[in-house]
Symmetry: C2
C-alpha cells in the first residue's frame, strides 16, 4: 500500500510518500511544492494543484492523508488555508484516490509519541523513523507524519479509509516543475 | 468583452456570463453548479471545479470576477468557503483567464443601487437589468451581479483588471454534466 501524506498551505504545500508492506514502512519520496512568487492567488493555487497532480501521477498512491482542520487562528487565515486545501482535495479526488483525515494530535502522536509535539520534534522524529539522510522541511515532515499516522492506524484506520472512498473521473495531469527535497 | 461572474460555494457555485459591447451589456448565460450528494468533500470540490472548467471552455470569458472576502461567520465557515473558492480560482487561472475582485458592497451597489441590498433584491434587479424571463437562482444572481459590477466599472475597473492579469498554463477540461438554469 502506497500512502501519500499532504500538508496543504497557500505558499508551501508539503507532501510525503510511504510504502507500507508487512515488514513495516519505507520512505519513497517527500518534498515541498512552492507556488511561483509575484503572481495572483489564482495562478498560485493552480500551480500548487498542477504540481500535486504531477506528484500523484508519479507515485500513484493508494490512499491520500490530510490533517483534519477544526480550528484556525482567524476567519481570514481559515479562508486562505481553505483555498489551498480545496485545490489539494480536488486534485486527490480527480485522480480517483481515496482520502483519509486524521486530527493534528493523532498525527503528531504517530510521529513523536506526543500529541503536543513542536514542529521541530516532528521533523527530527520523522527523520529518525524513516532513516532519512537529512531532516525534511517542516511542511514535508508534517506530510510524512500524516502518512505515518495512516500506516500505524491498522485495520480500524483502513476501515475508516475505505468508508470514505469515493472516486471522481480521472483528469489529465498538467506539466509543472517540482522542487523536490534532496 | 465577455465577463464571467462566479459566486463560489461548497454546495452550490453560481456563474453568470455577460457580453459587454459599446452599446451596453447583454446576458449570455447563467446557472448553478451543484456537487453530487453523498460523496466526500474532495469529490465534491473536484466536481465543482470540473464543471467550472467546462463553463470556461464553453463561454471563453476575457475576464472572471469574484467577490472579495473579508469576513466570514466563523473560521469553520471560512475554511469551507475557502475550499470552494480555491478550486474556482485555480480553474480560472488554469484556463489563463485574468481575475478581478470587487467587494460585496460594490457588487450589490452595481446590481441594485444599494450596498446593503438583500439577496432577493439582487435577484429581482438582475432579472430586470438583463431582461431575463425568470428570476435567476440566488447564487447565479450574485454571479451575474459580480459580472455587472465589472461591466460598470469602466476604464478604472479595466485598469485594475489588467494590473492583476497573470496567466497560467491552459489545462484540459474534464467532462462533467452541468445543471443549467432554464
Amino acid at each position: 500500500m502506497r500512502i501519500l501524506g499532504i500538508d496543504p498551505g497557500s505558499t508551501v504545500t508539503g507532501y510525503g510518500v510511504l510504502e507500507q508492506a508487512r515488514g513495516g514502512v519505507a520512505h519513497v519520496a517527500h518534498g515541498t511544492l512552492r507556488a511561483p512568487r509575484g503572481t495572483g492567488v489564482g495562478p498560485r493555487l493552480a500551480a500548487i494543484q498542477h504540481a500535486l497532480v504531477e506528484v500523484i501521477e508519479l507515485h500513484r498512491p493508494d490512499v491520500a492523508v490530510v490533517e483534519q482542520i477544526f480550528v484556525a487562528a482567524s476567519p481570514k487565515a481559515a479562508l486562505v488555508l481553505g483555498q489551498a486545501r480545496g485545490v489539494a482535495l480536488a486534485a486527490v479526488a480527480s485522480a480517483g484516490v481515496p482520502l483519509v483525515e486524521y486530527g493534528a494530535k493523532q498525527i503528531k502522536q504517530a510521529a513523536t509519541g506526543s500529541g503536543a509535539a513542536a514542529k521541530k520534534d516532528v521533523q527530527t522524529m520523522v527523520r529518525r523513523l524513516l532513516a532519512l539522510e537529512r531532516r525534511p522541511a517542516a511542511d514535508a515532515a508534517d506530510a510524512l507524519a500524516a502518512a505515518l499516522c495512516h500506516a500505524n492506524a491498522g485495520p480500524l484506520g483502513a476501515a475508516a479509509a475505505s468508508a470514505r472512498r469515493s472516486r471522481a473521473p480521472r483528469s489529465r495531469a498538467s506539466r509543472f516543475v517540482l522542487r523536490r527535497a534532496p
